[in-house]
């Protein structure tokens, strides 16, 4: 009986030690991370976001993913904490399980962000072959 209670206690502690968003191996906040070490939202954003061309001061602050059938759904929160309107463009790059391109390069999509604002951009992968992604940002100014 004593040992049963010990086992229950160990299991409870193990359950509490799991951080929300990291329950599934290879995923963080629902987003695929492969073998990368991700322990926070900041790590996830750093892993998934790239800047191309002219860099922008708009920064992604949160990212969450889920599965819609075999398609990957992504929500990314962008933050403009400057006092001026920012114009950026963005696109998603889709990667398959082998690390190769899962779909054609997307077109750049223009976005206007008001001063001191947050905006959530969302998308769905174009094909079930897409197992991972990158969010690419650039300034339009």
């Amino acid at each position: 009986m004593r040992y049963a209670w010990t086992i229950v206690a160990v299991l409870l502690v193990a359950g509490c030690a799991t951080k929300k968003g990291f329950e599934v191996p290879g995923q963080a906040f629902g987003c695929p991370i492969g073998d990368a070490k991700v322990s926070s939202m900041e790590d996830l954003v750093k892993l998934k976001v790239a800047m191309e061309g002219t860099r922008t001061t708009v920064v992604p602050t949160e990212m969450r993913c889920s599965k819609s059938g075999d398609l990957l759904k992504i929500d990314a929160n962008l933050n403009n904490d400057s006092r001026s309107v920012k114009r950026i463009s963005y696109k998603f790059r889709w990667i398959d399980r082998e690390g190769m391109r899962a779909a054609d390069e997307e077109a750049w999509k223009p976005l206007l962000m008001y001063e001191n604002s947050n905006l959530v951009i969302n998308t769905v992968s174009p094909t079930g072959k897409a197992a991972d992604f990158r969010l690419i940002l650039r300034s339009q100014e």
Partner: protein, 196 residues
Amino acid sequence: MNRPARMHRLAFPLLAALALAAGCAQEQTRYGDAKGVETVNNQFGSTDLQMIAESMTRSMLQAPVIVAGNLPVVTVQEVKNKTSEYIDTRAITDSIRSEMQKGGKVRFAVDAPGMNPQIDEIKRQQGEYYAKEHAVEKGQMVGAQYRLEGNITSIVKQVRDTKDVYYKVNLQLWNIRNGLLEWSDEKEIRKTTTRG
């Protein structure tokens, strides 16, 4: 020297200088980025077409009839242009069809404009020059289960140095058998041009 004569003497060197300047102003052609953001003017452009096609495709991929995984057969009908400018709406539906086809979740049946070439080819293969076992038989075409149609509208406002154009594209996927609307979505775009 009188004035007309002086002007006459200046005319030739002036014309020669202008001709030289015009010759030096050479055109230069370079390839650009087909997927880049285009802001040449506020008329309907390539970026608008690309944004609409991508947005509509990604939305349609999540429609229950598509997600069901039965490879539904769709025919593309007209997207009406209700704006005041020329827009090739066929380009929008061609892009959507191309991306949906690559996604592998939908099949497309020949649409109305494509029927004549389709029938002509079938008739051609009924001729005596084709081996019957290698020719396409009549009466084998697959009918569509759903039809895709829509419209694009715009609201244009201009005052002094500012021109604002708002586009709205609406697409619908209708069940041909029972007339139910299976999916619908809209995409809005706003472009503003200011002078000075």
